[in-house]
Symmetry: C2
């Protein structure tokens, strides 16, 4: 069993044209012996956003803290702590921070695709 | 895409000798078209606890709010918001609320086992 606060995991920063102010951590993955799916925790800084993209694998997301919006079918939908988001394969999506605090969420993906 | 607060999902209550004050919800599962893994949200009321048990499938957990403890190798380990827990297959585990507020956590399991 592995018990730890997500902040103890080494972060990877993402900052480019398509993605801004994003910190990602693989908290449970292949290295832990997780065979079927992988949990990542993302932090988006104020004004930060993930890339607008789609891919063959799904996301299962829980908004942990902060305030943000999710791009769904051409419009932004507000989310806050306790919201869950299921993004099926090949559906375009993006998440952005619309608050003043960090937006923190868990995002689970199947094994066999890049963990981060 | 499915976006909703977990509290919008119909809850199932668990109260017996082995499990006390537990409310479970399948927030993303088979009914949503999730093919590989299933996200549940559990709330444990004050003094509530999940069963002490083990099974063939793993858990990937994020503590969302509240304060509790996880049974690991014969002792209780404290957890609070932002803690993640990986419980490999066949490892005995139990979670209990040690605070005065609800203990809320996400628990992801592979598809093909009972969702709740």
């Amino acid at each position: 069993m592995k018990i730890m606060h997500y902040s103890q995991v080494s972060p990877r920063q993402f900052d480019a044209e398509a993605v801004k102010g994003v910190t990602g951590r693989v908290v449970i993955g292949k290295a832990d012996g997780a065979q079927h799916f992988c949990m990542r925790i993302f932090e988006l800084s104020e004004n930060g956003y993930s890339p607008k993209h789609s891919h063959e694998w799904e996301h299962e997301i829980l908004i942990h803290s902060g305030k943000g919006e999710v791009w769904q079918d051409g419009k932004w939908v507000s989310v806050s702590p306790g919201y869950t988001v299921f993004i099926p394969p090949d559906e375009e999506h993006q998440i952005r921070n619309t608050g003043h605090e960090k937006l923190v969420f868990a995002c689970v993906i199947p094994s066999g695709v890049p963990e981060l």
